[in-house]
């Protein structure tokens, strides 16, 4: 059977450096840091007191109060970014076959804030169970996909995807596969995450995963800098409208790019530490190239997982060097997490959007916060430090890796009829 071609025809973004696609892209090109002191709870006793929160975000600007109250913050952001993507793509229940429009939507953790609130409330009582009837439907991770379908009436395939910080790349991959197999015409895919709470920050702090640079939050996310000390937690959501090519052409849709291929592998090594030689990361890029029928030489930009952790950054760069060979010194590499922070389950789609925009506009967003070269990294590699670089971007690759040893990779390329 002939696989169908898959294109991206709509984008929605709600990120710590911009509350829509245009603001997000401007933030990336201008090297804006989304980090600042935490406002969502009193973090004064926490090892890390900053994060990349959404700015000037009021869910009531998008959702009515009754609706907003019954859904966790991660679902609020999921609904908002998917609304933007639907509008951008120009689709609605009257101009598509709703039975062939699906939603495959990720989160790394789901409604942790809701879980925390309910359990804290119970613990404060006398043991009488007084759980809110919306506790479970607010918390469960798949509910974002459910709400998006209810909002738009899309009745095609509908589920959530979870692989920790690789979740939304896996979601894009599942959406891509459903469409190229002919199971749907359009899928809204992406991910959302919002766990900047006591449990979220405290939990990651306990693992020593977060930067503790409280004296200078804006420079804390510094992938590939010698003095990086952990990731900066971000939050937000991104949605892609992915569509079967002929369907998109027939309705005269605006086409951002083509999804060329995807890959998924496991490290089978450790719950949180990457394989020291970047084995799973290397394999996932090889699988994605095979899937896309492309070679490393076809790629001009690699958006890395690059979380600003001491071990993770090194392992991934080793993998890139192994897979790309000499071409590793010709591609632009950058970690946009230096600006957005690490949006966990939403990171994959938020970074895929950076890749798509790079392919559309022929500009590579930078890795900001570079102060000191890391002697463990080959100086010939171009990490696009500090300033965006203009170059033709024929195709871009985005890596994401999750706790559990999950690796996922997506390659996007310029659309050519």
């Amino acid at each position: 059977m002939q696989l169908k071609r898959v294109v991206v025809t709509g984008i929605g973004a709600l990120t710590p450096i911009g509350n829509n696609l245009q603001e997000y892209w401007n933030g990336l090109l201008n090297g804006v840091s989304g980090a600042d002191f935490i406002t969502q709870f009193d973090a004064s006793k926490f090892k890390t007191r900053f994060a990349c929160e959404l700015k000037n975000f009021d869910p009531l600007n998008f959702l009515d109060r009754k609706e907003a109250r019954k859904i966790d913050r991660f679902t609020q952001t999921a609904i908002i970014s998917s609304d933007m993507a639907v509008i951008d793509a120009g689709i609605n229940k009257d101009n598509v076959n709703v039975d062939r429009v699906g939603v495959v939507f990720a989160s790394g953790i789901g409604g942790l804030i809701t879980f925390q609130e309910e359990v804290v409330n119970f613990a404060k009582g006398d043991g009488t169970p007084r759980f809110n009837p919306f506790f479970i439907p607010k918390m469960i991770l798949d509910i974002a996909a459910g709400h998006i379908s209810m909002r738009h009436g899309f009745r095609g395939p509908n589920f959530a995807v979870v692989s920790a910080c690789a979740s939304s790349t896996n979601a894009i991959m599942d959406a891509f596969n459903l469409i190229r197999l002919g199971k749907a015409d359009i899928i809204l895919t992406g991910g959302a995450e919002s766990v900047i709470s006591e449990a979220g920050v405290g939990g990651f702090n306990a693992m020593k995963a977060l930067s503790e640079r409280n004296d200078d939050p804006k420079s804390a996310s510094r992938p590939y800098d010698k003095d990086r000390d952990g990731f900066v937690m971000g939050e937000g959501s991104g949605t892609l409208v992915v569509e079967e090519l002929e369907h998109a052409l027939k309705r005269g849709a605006k086409i951002y790019c083509e999804i060329a291929g995807c890959g998924a592998t496991a490290d089978a090594h450790h719950i949180t530490a990457p394989h020291p030689e970047g084995l799973g990361a290397k394999n996932v890029m090889l699988v994605a190239f095979e899937d896309a029928g492309m070679k490393p030489e076809d790629i001009d930009y690699v958006n890395t997982h690059g979380t600003s952790t001491p071990l993770g950054d090194i392992a991934e760069v080793k993998a890139i060097t192994d897979v790309f060979g000499e071409h590793a010194f010709k591609v632009n590499i950058s970690s946009t997490k230096s600006m957005t922070g690490h949006c966990l389950g939403a990171a994959g789609v938020i970074e895929a959007i950076a890749c798509i925009q790079a392919v559309v506009h022929d500009i590579v967003p930078p890795t900001i916060n570079h102060f000191t070269d890391d002697p463990e990294l080959d100086a010939r590699l171009n990490f696009t430090f500090e300033k965006a670089q203009q170059r033709t971007v024929r195709a871009a690759l985005s890596n994401t890796f999750g706790f559990g040893g999950h690796n996922a990779c997506v390659i996007v390329k310029k659309f050519e009829a």
């Binding site: 009515d64 109060r65 009754k66 609706e67 109250r69 009488t128 007084r130 809110n132 009837p133 919306f134 439907p137």
Partner: protein, 79 residues
């Protein structure tokens, strides 16, 4: 309007996102005020919290209108 009625109506306006004028004594939570089954469970919980009582499930099921809620609470509320 009694103090209890005022407080009951405030909770309903808040939880169901309806206008105060809609919250008449005759108004049914599900038929008139747009509540679903989970909303009504949440309303009962809020009444329990506000009035510091416990409403048994079999009695909670008989409270389907604003007036019934006010009458029940006027009889049973401890504060």
């Amino acid at each position: 309007m009694s103090d209890i009625a005022t407080r009951v109506k405030k909770i309903i306006v808040d939880k169901l996102g309806v206008e105060e004028a809609e919250v008449t004594n005759e108004a049914s939570f599900t038929n008139d005020l747009g509540a679903d089954s989970l909303d009504t469970v949440e309303l009962i919980m809020e009444f329990e919290k506000e009035f510091n009582i416990s409403i048994p499930d079999e009695q909670a099921e008989t409270i389907t209108t604003v007036g019934q809620a006010v009458a029940y609470l006027e009889e049973h509320a401890k504060v």
